[in-house]
Amino acid sequence: MSEGLETTRGFEAALRRIGEERYHHRHPFNLRMHAGELTRQEIRTWVRNRYYYQTRIPIKDGMILAKSASADFRRDWIERIHDHDGQKPGEGGLELWLQLAVAVGLDRAEVESLAHVLPGVRRACDAYVEFVESHDLLESVAASLTELFAGDIMVVRIAAFEKHYPWVAAEGLRYFRSRTHQAPRDADWGLRFVLENADTIPDRQRCVAALERKCEILWGLLDAVERVCTRPEVVTHASVRSDEQTGKTTVVLPERVLNLGGSSGEILARCDGRKSAEEIAEALQAAHPEGRSVADDVHEFLDEMERLGAIRRLPAVE
């Protein structure tokens, strides 16, 4: 993967190519968002979950600050934290995102509480923070270069929301508007830093890998959001039964017998191709109000069942 990395120009081209090929503007969920195909529920789920990502950004930026011994660097980088957190309560990117949440019909306090963030989204975002924690300044800045591609996606997104999702009030889109100029400014600065400081091929390779990793993380976030909006359905050829000997839920498939314990029967009974995975998780929670949160377990179980061929996922519908 070192082709072209001998020259600064080749290095920059390699970084930009990653964006072309792997940035989440190509993710099916984003493509559908921009084509106006998402349901209200999907938009809400995305906004609620993406908020978790937003909350991690200033944390990782704080970590990056602490990695630099240069006052010039810190003076510049700290701008990002100001952008996100604002100079006082009621300002900044996080606040604007909450306004978006309200505009799409979510409860502000609920979103802020992070109580319903999906496990897959949490994992993806935490992985980003951990990446920055465990890698050096250069790689951390390189990972942030997805901003290079963010400006364009915001322009597309604003147009898509205005055109396809008129039910979202215009004030809700202020976050996107703010990013159309912030992201390219930050990215130019970050890019210059990376180009100047990665002057060996191994360093450049590390930067490329960091940016790829970051793209994977953003991709994983959308994967998780997309999946909970689908409607799981037990495949018609599966035989779901309650075992005569054990009383446990058993699923028989062409090539395997699954012995399932716990609430798997209750979950599978709800996989009728009508309810979304998220609704199934909520229903299960409602059925066990005294217990701890079951959403994580439900989503992990559904993933496992899909992998084993017991359920398939139908796309979301309005």
Partner: protein, 355 residues
């Protein structure tokens, strides 16, 4: 010893088969064994199996389609409340022969194909059958049954794994089993001609990884052949643990090769209740659980995963079924497998030099 509950019955309905695959693991003397159990006897086996806790039956052979009373047998299995999987090469059932089986309660089909291209597939099968198989696969889906495709991989088709996956997608297969040749039965005789090289396997593994990334279906199973993995495969969920095989003449075995191990006494479902054949036959108990295990399996942390490997392979390679499977890198006789592997590499070099 208290026998565990079996979940899966492998019903070998016949050894007859119209194909002639060089890696077939059926006994070499299959012609000498007739189809001992009639449909009524199978019906009894199915009922007894269900009472033992079995939920799933694989109707296999040879070629189960070679039996004229197949529909009756399928009906008996489904009446016993077993989930049925027909394991077939597609002929002689044919697309038209499927509907009566579905009416009789057939739930799913595993179809073996030999390759993704007709000439190669027919060459391996020893007869022109590829087009018929494709038609058969489409009929399976048209009738709403899930389709499992099984392709035995070897040196001559490993390079076409991508095409095979494409074909599986196109046929809307639920699952694709890319089985690497096991070197028992006929395949032992042809071992040197079939063994793939490590590079071939590595390339195929890469193709499989990419295909898996593209989506969950078809589920792709790809297992390295024993000769190239450094741990043995878990055998049928453990000897006499989860599955039982009933052969065309009624013998009850832990796996379809086990009947060929000398000195093991298995019982016959025609003579005794299936429960006794499963729980009490001396052969069934010979390698059940962990008490029989030799060093190093006895204390190995992986023994619950692979159960010490394949008894039959241990026997074929070392002459003693109670040894650690030489496919395991920890086995005292692992060098036997290493030698076989270099045999494959050596032959390839020789071929490469030929004009």
């Amino acid at each position: 010893m208290k026998a565990p509950r079996p979940y899966n019955l492998i019903a070998e309905l016949t050894y007859r088969c119209p194909l002639r695959c060089p890696y077939c693991s059926n006994p070499l003397d299959w012609k000498a064994v007739g189809d001992g159990l009639d449909a009524e006897a199978w019906a009894r086996v199915f009922r007894e199996a269900a009472a033992l806790g079995v939920l799933h039956v694989g109707l296999t052979g040879g070629e189960p389609g070679a039996r004229r009373d197949l529909a009756e047998i399928v009906r008996a299995a489904s009446t016993a409340d077993l989930y049925t999987l027909l394991v077939t090469a597609g002929t002689p059932i044919g697309a038209e022969g499927l509907a009566p089986l579905v009416d009789a309660g057939l739930r799913s089909v595993q179809l073996s194909i030999q390759d993704a291209v007709a000439e190669e597939s027919d060459r391996i099968a020893g007869t022109a059958c590829f087009e018929g198989k494709i038609e058969f696969a489409r009929a399976v889906r048209a009738l709403g049954l899930p389709l499992v495709l099984n392709v035995v991989l070897h040196r001559h088709n490993l390079g076409r794994v991508a095409e095979i996956i494409r074909l599986a997608r196109e046929l809307d297969a639920e699952r694709l089993e890319l089985a690497n040749t096991q070197y028992h039965g006929w395949a032992r005789l042809n071992r040197a001609a079939l063994l793939p090289t490590a590079q071939q396997l590595e390339d195929a593994a890469q193709v499989v990884r990419e295909a898996r990334r593209a989506g969950p279906r078809p589920e792709i199973q790809f297992v390295l052949p024993d000769y190239f993995a450094d741990r043995p495969k878990p055998c049928m969920g453990g000897w006499g643990q989860r599955a039982l095989v009933v052969t065309p003449d009624g013998s009850v075995l832990p796996c379809h090769e086990a009947g060929r191990l000398p000195g093991l006494e298995f019982w016959n479902a025609m003579d005794r209740p299936l429960a006794a054949c499963w729980a009490e036959a001396p052969g069934m108990n010979a390698f059940r659980g962990e008490d029989w295990m030799p060093h190093p399996c006895r204390t190995c942390p992986e023994r619950a995963r692979d159960f010490g490997g394949c008894r039959c392979q241990a026997y074929f390679l070392t002459g003693d079924a109670a040894r650690t499977d030489p496919a395991c890198a920890l086995a005292p006789q692992h060098d036997l497998v290493v030698a076989a592997r270099s045999e494959a590499e050596a032959e390839l070099v020789y071929r490469g030099r030929a004009p």
